[in-house]
Assembly symmetry: C2
Homo-oligomer: 470 residues x 2
């Protein structure tokens, strides 16, 4: 059993740290974006070095005080707020915010956990390289949280998730010992891969303090198109067609459902829509090509081939970088419109690509049986990742569906599971989905996860109650 | 302490298995390619299903009998042969050899651990897809061993190691419980990533019985060139130039040292060499491009730009697919020539790209101080991976260097470590490099590895003595 982060603990800890590291918990550390959880904390620690992180964890383990790692606070599954249990210490990595090196010849950049994603993108750009991680919250999300949750976003199709972008990690274990693992290597087969164990463990196995991140050549020319497709299956066939023609040049492939366009028109009417009447299904194709290829010509060729194969009926090709940005802005604004409309339930699911059309059909039918609901289905369809969000019927209030919410989510998740999918594609487990983990993940795997947690954090101080139920 | 795999154990186990699963150990299970280790076994088990693997491990754990997983037998670090300790059971996955499914729309293929790499490549090709793992032993290496050692090879630059090619795994744990983890998902953030823990653990944490593997579009057009570069640094700058021009279209980038060409001329004179006088440094650039780009024209443009930038002095561009294959054959024949010449010591190392030229210079100087030696330095330089092999001076015998071998290896490995590299880039630890793991890997990381091993295999039956010293 853990002890609370009480004044006696804080006094003893304060004596070991420079002034100003321990602070009273401001409200921002205790709230989360969707407003469903309210955290608690005895204090917030803002260490300025890996050694200070080590001192904090060593003291916390000795005193059996829970520690909640905190990065940008943009997580959507309450991994960063602990509403229940003995009062924890929040450990914010915000002061670990140096970019330690940028090495263009080696295509690597070393960033501390508190660096904001846009800062890392800018540092890479300054060296004529690309750091390809990109997502809606990139202006506030920090590297430590992106690694802790194995963030995804819009560049995964071509470049992978955070997991695939990290070559090495510096990590502090629960007992305060430091793994100095900032390798800058593509290949390293010296023992078990602790890096991948830490990435996606949401601060429950260790605190990541810095990472060696992969950089890429910047595509010489970019382009984008919005293409109206007759169905989700057509979208997948269009993806295969695009990849057969352009390989890795297909940098992004996003599905936008008609409901999302209606919500945009309603909630964010200032966003200009490309089609007078929102189509049922729209795809955003994004290209990053070598200098010898003309994106507009390639998109035109792709569109013609798609029409020929009955995979597209209408489309618009970006005529400028500004128009490409506008296409992406349209896509990125959907979550904001969703928040304004107010969802009954949100789901971040992934499916085997081939199962995606059947899932969309069956889930729609099952939800129609449950009640009067609207579905906004959109997302990174090239990765098999859908944000499958459920809304009240027009004119009805969210609160009217309070009794239905759990059944809606279970219906969606059961279907995803039945198709071999995952009920957390890119957001993680946090505290929101610990029940889902027990319900849907292979029980032998969950048992192995518990063994690993017990081996690396025997006192259970790291992010108590996240990922695995206490 | 483990018990031997004795007749009593085998009799009890035989009663639980179909006839023919347990066999007397043929010699091929007890030898390894380099002839340095001689294994031992009470019997060889050849299970035909995951359930049989589970029964075998359950019985072995109950009886505390060591189990040595065996796939293609092509490993170079003695992970598959156990020369010492209580007699183990060898567990061969050769009968788990079905390709369970090929899904071109989802770009995934499910193969059992006993499938041979060339069979998997062929199955992908049959579906107009590419399974990009490729290495010298592909005609006998099996999927289970490739995953267990996180194999690399020639396609890593573009497609990653086995780790990056596996979406999901079916694994039997030490106690016989099965993780049914054959997910076909690009994104799945439901808990700790056991997949990456198993991959590269060389059969010490579980036995992989099947994997969901990623497929890719086949590049429409391929090409290759051999380019003479003035130095390793020029090779790296040529790589950056090639990637800036062609992005992921650069599928392979191999360095060939002049010594390797001299060895080829001596040991395999039938292989035609492209240059009358072997150059000091040669690079093999391999392209896989989209239909709209002409590989020969792109290689010509690259070569001209390289000459302009003093990065190349001579070169030859493959005029046909046969010539491209001949270039690769030249590269792939170097290990065979090495075996005929007879190495004093072989090293599979990786370095941060930017440190590679300094390593090559310093290692050459340090070895010249040690004795009269020849260095054959070649490898997957785009991945920072060198095969850095040391040979006797002309006219001298290997045996004359027996007293020097350990100092040679330690000199090379110490330098690699000093430059932030790894002393096993792609071959793994096996039993050959357990001392290196203790010497060079962060001690806190090694301690965490031991905790994980104890948590997942408390009796220590899985591949005893591999990766971590007993």
């Amino acid at each position: 059993m853990l002890n609370p982060c009480d004044p006696a603990f804080l006094q003893a800890l304060e004596a070991q740290l420079p002034p100003g590291v321990l602070r009273a918990p401001e409200d921002r550390y205790l709230t989360e974006l969707r407003g469903r959880y309210r955290g608690q904390a005895g204090a917030v620690a803002c260490p300025g070095s890996v050694e200070e992180v080590a001192s904090i964890l060593k003291a916390a383990q000795a005193a059996r005080v829970g520690v909640v790692p905190y990065a940008g606070g943009t997580g959507l599954v309450a991994g960063q707020v602990m509403p229940e249990g003995p009062l924890p210490l929040v450990l914010s990595v915000e002061r670990l915010n140096r970019i330690r090196s940028v090495e263009p010849l080696g295509n690597v950049l070393v960033a501390e956990a508190g660096c904001i994603l846009t800062e890392v993108q800018a540092a890479a750009e300054g060296a004529e390289r690309l750091f390809p991680m990109s997502l809606g919250s990139e202006g506030s999300a920090r590297i430590g949280g992106l690694l802790g949750t194995n963030a995804g976003g819009t560049g995964v199709l071509r470049y992978g998730t955070m997991r695939e972008l990290a070559l090495g990690l510096e990590v502090v274990l629960a007992d305060g010992r430091v793994i100095h693992g900032l390798k800058r290597l593509r290949k390293n087969n010296m023992g078990y891969d602790l890096r991948h164990l830490m990435i996606g463990s949401e601060g429950t196995l260790g605190v990541i303090t810095a990472a060696a991140l992969r950089l890429f050549p910047r595509p010489a020319r970019t382009g984008a198109a919005l293409i109206v497709v007759p169905s989700p299956e057509a979208a997948l066939r269009l993806l295969a067609l695009a990849q057969a023609r352009l390989g890795e040049g297909v940098s992004g492939f996003e599905l936008i459902g008609g409901q999302g366009l209606h919500f945009l028109a309603e909630a964010l009417p200032q966003i200009r829509q490309p089609f007078a009447e929102p189509p049922e299904w729209l795809v955003l194709v994004d290209l990053g090509l070598v200098a010898a290829l003309d994106p507009a010509a390639e998109l035109e060729g792709l569109f013609e081939a798609a029409v020929e194969a009955d995979l597209a009926s209408d489309g618009v090709i970006a005529g400028s970088e500004a128009q490409r940005a506008a296409f992406w802005h349209l896509r990125e604004a959907i979550p904001e419109a969703n928040r304004k409309i107010g969802a009954v339930a949100s789901h971040d699911v992934s499916l085997p690509l081939a199962a995606l059309p059947a899932f969309i059909a069956e889930a729609g039918a099952a939800l129609a049986d449950l009640g009067d609901l609207r579905v906004n289905c959109f997302g990174h369809v090239g990765d098999g990742n859908l944000h499958y969000n459920i809304f009240p019927a027009p004119g009805r209030k969210r609160a009217e569906y309070d009794g239905l919410r759990d059944r809606v989510t279970q219906t969606v998740h059961d279907l995803v599971h039945g198709f071999g999918g995952s009920v957390s594609a890119e957001h993680g487990v946090g505290r929101l989905k610990t029940g889902d983990l027990e319900r849907y993940v292979d029980p032998v795997a969950v048992s192995a996860m518990r063994s690993i947690k017990a081996a690396l954090d025997p006192a259970g101080i790291l992010n108590p109650g996240a990922v695995l139920k206490g």
